[in-house]
Amino acid sequence: MTAPVIQVAHAAVGYDGRAVLRDVSLTVTAGEVVAVLGANGSGKSTLIRAVLGLVPLGAGSVTLFGTPQRRFRQWHRIGYVPQRLGAGSGVPATVGEVVASGRLARRGVLRPSGRADREAVASALRAVGLADRAGDPVATLSGGQQQRTLIARALAGRPELLVLDEPTAGVDAASQEAFAGALRDFRDGGGTVLLVAHELGPLRPLIGRAVVVHQGGICHDGAVPEPAGHHAEPGHDHVHPHCDEEPAGLWSM
C-alpha cells in the first residue's frame, strides 16, 4: 500500500503571469485520504486542477500512477468530483443520465452502454443514497443532492483514486453525512482520496493527512491541524481572488 498514486514535484502554475502555485511538491500513496486545506485563493483548487491536467504546469512535473501526466491515458482509474454541477444547461437531464457519464472513461466513446454499466450506475446511486431519484431531473434536486450525484458519477467508473474539489461546500447536513459514508466505503475498499476542503465537518475522522496551502506554497504536511489553527480556519483572510476560472468560451458551458 505504498505505491505513489500522485506525485507532484516542484510544480508551479501561473495565470496571466501571476504565480498561483510556486514550487509545490506532494506525494499521495495508495490507500491514503489526504485533505488539501487553505483559505480561498490560496491555490488549493489550482493544485488539484494541475494534478488532473485541467490547468497547465508552468514548471515541475505531475506523475499519476507512476506515469507522467502528459502520457497518462488510464483515466478510468481516476474519479473527479468538481465543486458543483456546471451552471445548469438548458436541456433537462436525469440523475441516472448524469451518473452514467461516469462510465465513459471505462467504456470509451464508441461502445454502447451495457449491463455492467447499468449495474455500476445503480450501485453508485445506492452508495450515495440517491437510488430512488435516478429518474428525476437533476435540476429538481437540492444542492447537497446534486453534489451527491456528482460523487456517484465519479464512483460509477469504479476508480482507484477520487479527486474532490470542495465536496461539502454549502451542502446540507444529511448530504454531508451521506457523503462521508460513501467516502468511508470507498476508502475501506482500498481507494485513495485527495480532496480540497475549506472546512472538514463530518469528513474529519476520515482524513489521514492534511496539506495546508498558503499563498501558493505548502506550509504544512502532516496531521490534520486543529480547526482553530491559523491556516485552516474557515474565516481565514481571503488574500487572493479565486483563481480557478477558465476563460469562458463560446462553445463551453
Binding site: 448524469v98 452514467a100 443514497g129 429518474g135 470507498f186 476563460p247 468560451g249 463560446l250 462553445w251 458551458m253
Partner: protein, 290 residues
C-alpha cells in the same frame, strides 16, 4: 389535388423530413451548451459558399458545406484559444459571411430570386443531386449524433469532467462544429440559411417543456422536428407560402401548444393533488466500491 405527384415536391418533402429529424438531433447539444444561436452565424458563412458556388458554376450546396465547415472550425478554434477577442472575431466572421454571400450571388448571373431561395428556402429548387447530398449528409449527422450521444452529452454537460474522463474533447467539439455546419447547409434548401437555426433549436425548446431527461428530450424534439418539417412543406405547397417560414412558424406554434398544455397540466395537478413531499431515505452502504 395531389401536389406530391410532382417529383420536385416529393424531393422537397423527403429532404425536409430528413432535415426535420437531423436538425434537432444536433441542435439539442447546442442548446445544452447555450449556443442556440451558433447555427445562425454558421448560416451566414454558408451563404458565402452559396455565392461562390453560383459564381463558379459548381453545386452551391457542396461549396456551402465546405465554406460553412471551414467557418465552423475557425469558430471552434477561436473559442478554444481566444479570450476577449472571440466575440469580435465571431461578429466579423458572421457579417463577413453574409456580405460576401450577397456580393458573390450578385456577381453571378443568378437573380435576387435565387438569393431569396437560399435565404428563406424554396421547394422547387431541390435537384436530384441536391437530394442525394441532403440524404447522405443528413443520415450521417443523424447516426453520429445518436451513436455518440453519451460522449457528446458528457462534453456538453461538463466539459472539464469529460476531459478528466479521458474523452477526446477537442475532437468531439470539432465534430459538433462541423456537424452544425453540415446541418445548416443541407437545411438551406428547405428552410433557408436565415431560418435554419430555428429548426435546430425550437423543437428542443418545445420538447423540454414536458420532458425530464436528455434522451426523452432528444426523442421528442426529433418527433416535433419531423412534424414541423413535413407539415411545413405541405402548407407551403398547398397555400403557396415560403417553405422556410411555414416550417418555422409550425415549429414555434408547436412550442406554444406544448408550453400551454404543460402549464395547464401542472396547474391541474396542483389543484387535484397536494404537493408530494420528497422523502429522503437514510443512505445505505451495502455496496463496497473500490
Amino acid at each position: 389535388m395531389d401536389l406530391f405527384q410532382y417529383d420536385f415536391m416529393l424531393r422537397a418533402l423527403v429532404g425536409a423530413l430528413v432535415i426535420g429529424l437531423a436538425a434537432p438531433a444536433l441542435g439539442i447539444y447546442l442548446v445544452q451548451r447555450r449556443l442556440a444561436l451558433i447555427g445562425d452565424g454558421i448560416g451566414h458563412v454558408a451563404l458565402t459558399g452559396v455565392g461562390a458556388g453560383l459564381l463558379l458554376n459548381r453545386s452551391p450546396v457542396l461549396v456551402a458545406v465546405i465554406a460553412a465547415t471551414l467557418g465552423a472550425i475557425v469558430i471552434e478554434l477561436v473559442r478554444s484559444r481566444g479570450r476577449t477577442s472571440g466575440d469580435l472575431a465571431l461578429a466579423l466572421l458572421f457579417y463577413g459571411g453574409i456580405a460576401g454571400g450577397v456580393m458573390l450571388v450578385g456577381l453571378s448571373d443568378a437573380g435576387s430570386g435565387k438569393l431569396n431561395a437560399y435565404l428563406f428556402g424554396s421547394l422547387t429548387t431541390t435537384s436530384p443531386a441536391d437530394l442525394i447530398t441532403i440524404l447522405v449528409l443528413g443520415v450521417a449527422i443523424l447516426v453520429t449524433m445518436l451513436a455518440l450521444r453519451p460522449a457528446l452529452f458528457a462534453v456538453c454537460h461538463d466539459e472539464e469532467y469529460a476531459r478528466v474522463s479521458g474523452l477526446p474533447v477537442r475532437a468531439l467539439n470539432l465534430l459538433l462544429a462541423v456537424g452544425t455546419a453540415v446541418t445548416v447547409t443541407i437545411a438551406m434548401r428547405a428552410v433557408g440559411v436565415l431560418l435554419i437555426s430555428a429548426l435546430m433549436v425550437v423543437p428542443v425548446a418545445a420538447a423540454q417543456q414536458v420532458t425530464r431527461g436528455f434522451r426523452a428530450t432528444m426523442a421528442a424534439a426529433m418527433a416535433l422536428g419531423l412534424f414541423a418539417a413535413g407539415a411545413g412543406v405541405w402548407v407551403a405547397a398547398t397555400a403557396d407560402t415560403a417553405p422556410g417560414a411555414s416550417v418555422v412558424l409550425l415549429a414555434i406554434g408547436s412550442f406554444l401548444v406544448v408550453a400551454l398544455l404543460a402549464a395547464g397540466w401542472r396547474a391541474l395537478r396542483r389543484r387535484t393533488r397536494p404537493v408530494a413531499v420528497p422523502v429522503v431515505e437514510p443512505p445505505e452502504h451495502e455496496v463496497v466500491l473500490r
